[in-house]
């Protein structure tokens, strides 16, 4: 177990030969081993099952099972009939009904995981590592997975189960190891630890205190949301953000926070619910409508949804205000240059030239440029999704100052962050989501790492299927 970014997945990938360790030894069955590649891991009997299984979507299930298994000659024949028979046998053994001749494409994630487990059995793996396998599964699928996992255990196989769901770890595991900031913190029999113990071990990092100074005057309600829902992603989300207020949105990855932001900004509009901006009921079905209403959204994945990598820094900065830089339809270079220059100075973006491609800047400066882009639209509501992910500590502090100043100038800010110290340092209130629902609204005075984490960790017993 461990928080997001604690190093669980990286560790799992080292065991499975995806990454090489820089030092240290892996001991398997009392013997030191060198896991040089995924194939080497497989030969040693180690299989890693990824959260989103890696597969070849155009190949059949049976082919996916055997690919990379027998590594004999290039031109050796493929025994189709035998392959299909063996694949069927494995599926029967697991007790799942998957047609092994169908292509992998279109299989549910749960079924893809079953194929991966079958692959582990095909190579007779003794150590099976499951990296957050339950995150994309329905409760019933989780129960099926657990039944199979327990059976594999009873056959004498070892299972490493990575999860941040307390209930699941309690239901399945014998011992728990907790990671934090890339270090192993503790290994203990699960029975000896209370939920509170585990949460404390997960978050008890040296707390880097940061306080932004300019605390703003909190004004009228700028954004109000009532019973916002997108089936399958989040339900009944209601909250408000006032002018000058920084409202944090915490929770674990996959809790639905980004989906709420995307719904607010019209990227993937909500199915139901009501929205108010500056006291007026509005409907936002497209980002351009959101921009017109004074909303701005700095998305989480900069590389995918934020920058235009090959365009220049100035083109990136002015991308959201086409009318201002091209009042007559033709781009006025002087205006563009002046606006970009002003932004660069204000946010102290470090660059060689405004004309250089933004992809050449460091992550922090790219992020600043995107923030600059949205500030040019003069938004009244600013939604920031993980704005400091992957940014150096020094630049982070600058960001915190900037966010504080933006609030002080009367903007309403919704800050999505997985970093607890960041939420605690910046926010006037912290909302917490867990599994698509709002589970807490914590005022600044009561917000602690424990109170946020308590609301974030799913407590709902995830397998009604077993009880029935």
């Amino acid at each position: 177990m461990g928080e997001n970014g604690a190093g669980k997945s990286t560790f799992a990938k080292i065991l499975a030969g995806v990454h090489r360790p820089t030092r240290g030894t892996i001991t398997l069955n009392g013997k030191p081993v060198d896991v040089t590649s995924p194939i080497a891991a497989q030969k040693l009997g180690i299989t890693l099952i990824h959260q989103e299984p890696i597969s070849f979507p155009d190949l059949s299930v049976a082919e996916n099972l055997v690919l990379g298994k027998a590594d004999d000659g290039w031109f050796s024949r493929v025994p189709w009939a035998q392959m299909t028979r063996e694949a069927k046998a494995l599926m029967d053994l697991l007790g799942v009904k998957i047609d092994v001749t169908r292509p992998m494409r279109g299989l549910s994630i749960a079924d893809q995981q079953m194929v991966e487990i079958a692959r582990a059995l095909a190579s007779d793996s003794r150590l099976i590592i499951m990296d957050e396998p339950t995150a994309p599964l329905t409760p019933r699928e989780v129960e099926t997975l657990f039944v199979i996992a327990r059976r594999l255990r009873d056959e004498g196989r070892t299972i490493i189960f990575i999860s941040h769901r307390l209930e699941e770890v309690r239901a399945l595991c014998d011992r728990v190891t907790i990671f934090r900031d890339g270090n192993k913190i503790a290994t203990e029999a699960i029975a000896n630890l209370s939920d509170a113990d585990i949460i404390r071990l997960m978050i008890g990092r040296p707390f880097k205190e940061y306080m932004h100074k300019a605390r703003a005057e909190i004004g009228a309600v700028a954004l109000k949301v009532e019973r916002l829902s997108v089936p399958g992603l989040f339900q009944d989300i209601s909250f408000e953000v006032r002018k000058g207020e920084i409202v944090g949105l915490g929770g674990l990855v996959g809790a639905g926070r980004t989906d709420v932001a995307r719904a607010l900004f019209g990227v993937a509009p909500a199915a139901s619910g009501t929205l108010w901006v500056d006291g007026k009921t509005v409907s936002i079905n497209d980002p351009s409508e959101a921009i017109a209403l004074g909303l701005a959204f700095v998305p989480e994945d900069r590389a995918v949804a934020g920058i235009f990598r090959t365009l220049s820094v100035e083109e990136n900065i002015t991308a959201a205000v086409p009318k201002q830089i091209a009042p007559s339809g033709f781009i006025r270079r002087a205006i563009e240059r002046a606006m970009a220059n002003d932004s660069v100075r204000r946010l102290s973006i470090r660059l060689a030239s405004l004309r250089q491609p933004i992809g050449e800047l460091s992550g922090g400066n790219q992020q600043k440029a995107i923030l600059a882009r949205w500030l040019l639209t003069d938004p009244s509501v600013l939604i920031l999704d993980e704005p400091t992910r992957g940014i150096d500590i020094g630049v982070k502090a600058e960001f915190y100052d900037m966010i504080g100043e933006l609030a002080a100038s009367g903007r309403a800010i919704l800050l999505i962050s997985s970093e607890l110290p960041e939420l605690l340092a910046l926010c006037d209130r912290v909302l917490v989501m867990s599994e698509g629902r709002l589970t807490a609204d914590i005022p600044r005075a009561e917000a602690t790492q424990e109170s946020i984490m308590n609301a974030a960790v799913p407590r709902r017993v995830a397998f009604e299927g077993a009880a029935a």
Partner: protein, 328 residues
């Protein structure tokens, strides 16, 4: 019923239906289109494209593309042609292995540029399209190899027949198709080509030697272009530095894509590709018969290919939707 359904939903049946409809439409205007004689004409238009398409299909399945095949065809035909012209002791059949070897070498060159420098295949083969064409001019000093230098036994491959009056060259083309089928579907490396194209990121994690597989695929494409090159000399009885193989890549890639291979890799069948080639052959045979003047044939040929692709895409989209509904 479900068997029939699964056959109908296969990509290949759509192309087959298109071929039948096209032939019936042409036949309703010109009844002589639906004769055995005409079938022979259609088949004779296709063997070179068929051979090239088999290599190209493998390249496209691996999520690459080979634009240089026409130039590789030209160089390999020209090398054999020059040898026939200047080396009197050269036996007639020696052109076959020589052209195949020349083509394989050039294809390997493509593969090396792509894997060593991590360049996109479309750029590399666009470069070698021009480079290899230039080589043809250099080695031939820009002169055509005329009829009298091409051995009559070689030319006979396109004229004499072992059975049913169908010339050897067509049997060679279908032989290549069968070998490609066995290679693609029944060898481990064949499957690795599909895996590589289906998910290039995952391929090395499953122990697939990406570099070697890529080199092999381009070498095969080159070797088959070489075979097509020597058969060009057989079929037409000359090798011209500028015409031989020009535009070959367009016909071949069109046939492969009509045949259902996905330009996104991982998908493609030999049967589909064969049908794609035959559809092109039907169109090429129908145009002069319908009295379409030579000046507009190229434009109409291109338009028909685009129409075939559009029909195929829209039909297929509906087919997939229907399948989902049936499953729900």
């Amino acid at each position: 019923m479900s068997t029939l359904r699964s056959i109908l939903l296969r990509r290949e049946s759509g192309i087959a239906v298109m071929i039948v409809l096209f032939c019936l439409a042409v036949g309703s205007v010109k009844p002589q289109f639906l004769t055995l004689d005409q079938l022979r004409i259609i088949l004779l238009l296709t063997p070179l494209i068929m051979i090239g398409a088999m290599g190209q299909m493998l390249v496209i399945v691996a999520r690459h593309v080979d634009l240089s095949i026409g130039s590789m065809l030209g160089v390999s035909a020209m090398v054999s042609g020059m040898l026939y012209r200047y080396v009197e002791v050269m036996p007639w059949w020696a052109g076959l292995p020589i052209s195949i070897a020349v083509g394989a070498t050039l294809g390997l060159g493509n593969g090396l540029l792509i894997t060593l420098f991590r360049l996109p295949a479309i750029i590399v083969t666009l470069g070698t399209l021009s480079l290899y064409r230039g080589l043809t001019f250099i080695i031939s000093n820009a002169k055509q190899i005329d009829r009298q230098y091409i051995p009559s036994e070689l030319k006979a491959l396109s004229q004499t027949s072992p059975i049913f009056g169908i010339p050897w060259i067509i049997f060679i083309a279908f032989g290549v198709a069968i070998l490609t089928y066995l290679f693609a579907m029944h060898t481990r490396v064949g499957r690795q080509i599909f895996a590589l194209g289906s998910n290039p990121v995952a391929a090395p994690l499953r122990g697939i030697k990406v570099t070697q597989v890529t080199l092999l695929v381009f070498a095969i494409s080159g070797a088959l272009s070489g075979l097509a090159g020597i058969l060009y000399a057989s079929r037409w009885g000359f090798v011209n530095p500028s015409n031989t193989g020009a535009g070959f890549e367009f016909q071949v890639i069109a046939a492969v894509v009509i045949g259902g291979a996905s330009i996104n890799g991982g998908v493609g069948t030999v049967l589909g590709t064969v049908l794609g080639v035959l559809l092109l052959g039907c169109v090429a045979a129908a145009l002069p018969l319908l009295g379409i003047p030579g000046t507009s044939q190229a434009a109409i040929y291109g338009a028909v290919i685009l129409i075939a692709l559009v029909i195929d895409r829209s039909v297929r989209r509906q087919g997939i939707v229907g399948l989902k509904r049936a499953g729900a």
